[in-house]
């Protein structure tokens, strides 16, 4: 019985100890080799893009849409107006501070609920006196019984 327990404990320790190493080994994704159908599709697309006709039509389309693309890109850049890195950092810091303050308030409310607020928990009315009284009575009773037995012995 003791041997079985030892084996179980050793196995659990081994599993616990090897868990981190095992997790580190499986961080990458092994891509399976493409099937024949996928290989054929890739080959077809590759040959189509390399054919002279396809290349010409693609280039023509790009050249035709260049002005439209530049205009749309300009509008998009002006409209997005991304904040500078410093402002973004400030925003992140503010949100972190707000989250910290909110968490602090929650902790304070949990520890000191002695004032009313919406969602407050009920005041701590727990008392140890009944437990102490019962333990005391039990102790006295047990002590008296032991004393009585000692006297009778």
């Amino acid at each position: 019985m003791n041997r079985q327990i030892r084996i179980l404990v050793a196995a659990a320790a081994l599993l616990a100890g090897s868990a981190a190493e095992a997790a580190a080994q499986f961080t990458g994704v092994v891509t399976p080799p493409p099937t024949r159908r996928e290989q054929a599709a890739v080959a077809r697309a590759d040959s189509a893009s390399r054919s002279p006709g396809a290349r010409d039509s693609t280039n023509a389309a790009r050249l035709t849409d260049m002005k439209t693309w530049v205009d749309s890109a300009t509008v998009a850049l002006a409209g997005s107006a991304a904040p500078p890195p410093a402002a973004a950092a400030d925003t992140a810091a503010d949100s972190t501070t707000r989250a910290g303050v909110a968490a602090g308030r929650r902790r304070v409310a949990a520890v000191m609920p002695a004032t009313m607020h919406d969602g407050a928990r009920a005041p701590d009315t727990a008392t140890q006196l009944p437990t102490l009284a019962v333990l005391g009575a039990f102790g006295i009773g047990a002590g008296l019984v032991l004393m009585g037995r000692r006297r009778s012995a």
């Binding site: 004032t115 969602g119 407050a120 005041p123 009315t125 008392t127 006196l129 009944p130 102490l132 002590g143």
Partner: protein, 197 residues
């Protein structure tokens, strides 16, 4: 040794209960004195929500709580600290006073002033009188048990009375839950005491 330890524990508990009795008597005496002063001054008002609210010091008697069916008659003191809860049911600071607009929260220990709170049932009548003389009658509308750390008290736009104590009432050790009893004003009381009180 065992007997001595038991006697020590029992003595400590008995001292705690004795101090509670003394503090309760002191709170009742303070309430009686305040009521006498009020009667002499002739400022008694029976209108629910009438009059300006006074600020009470911690430990000062702020209201009287009567539950006729349970034979409960307690003086409510301001605050819910150890000393206040020893003297009587405590009024949670920041909550409304009974009869005011808002949620009036009163808490007490399960082994002392609110030992019979678990016998309170929906439909029972509760009566309160504040130190300002505002009298209100309430009807128990619900009771629920929540974990001790769960949100249990909520603001109200109308007068509401909430009584809380530990749950289970007969439990050894720190009780893990809280009994929350809510009461609404009696619609037809109009601030007058209900019959039989």
């Amino acid at each position: 040794m065992l007997t001595a330890s038991g006697a020590l524990l029992l003595g400590y508990a008995a001292t705690g209960y004795a101090r509670a009795v003394v503090a309760r008597d002191a709170a009742r005496a303070a309430w009686d004195a305040a009521e006498a002063r009020r009667a002499v001054a002739g400022v008694r008002s029976l209108a629910v929500g009438g009059g300006a609210r006074a600020d009470y010091a911690t430990g000062a008697p702020v209201a009287r709580l009567l539950i006729p069916r349970l034979g409960m008659d307690e003086v409510v003191v301001e605050g819910v600290g150890d000393d206040e809860l020893r003297a009587g049911p405590g009024h949670l600071p920041g909550s409304a006073l009974p009869g005011e607009v808002g949620n009036a929260v009163i808490s007490a220990h399960r082994d002392r002033h609110f030992h019979a709170l678990d016998e309170l049932r929906t439909g029972d009548t509760v009566r309160t009188t504040t130190a300002d003389g505002v009298t209100a009658s309430w009807v128990v509308t619900g009771r629920r048990v929540v974990p001790k750390d769960a949100p249990a008290l909520f603001a109200s736009r109308s007068p509401r009375l909430t009584l809380t104590t530990c749950w289970p009432v007969r439990y050894l050790g720190p009780a893990p839950e809280r009994l929350i009893v809510t009461a609404e004003p009696l619609a037809d009381s109009g601030g007058a005491p209900p019959p039989g009180i």
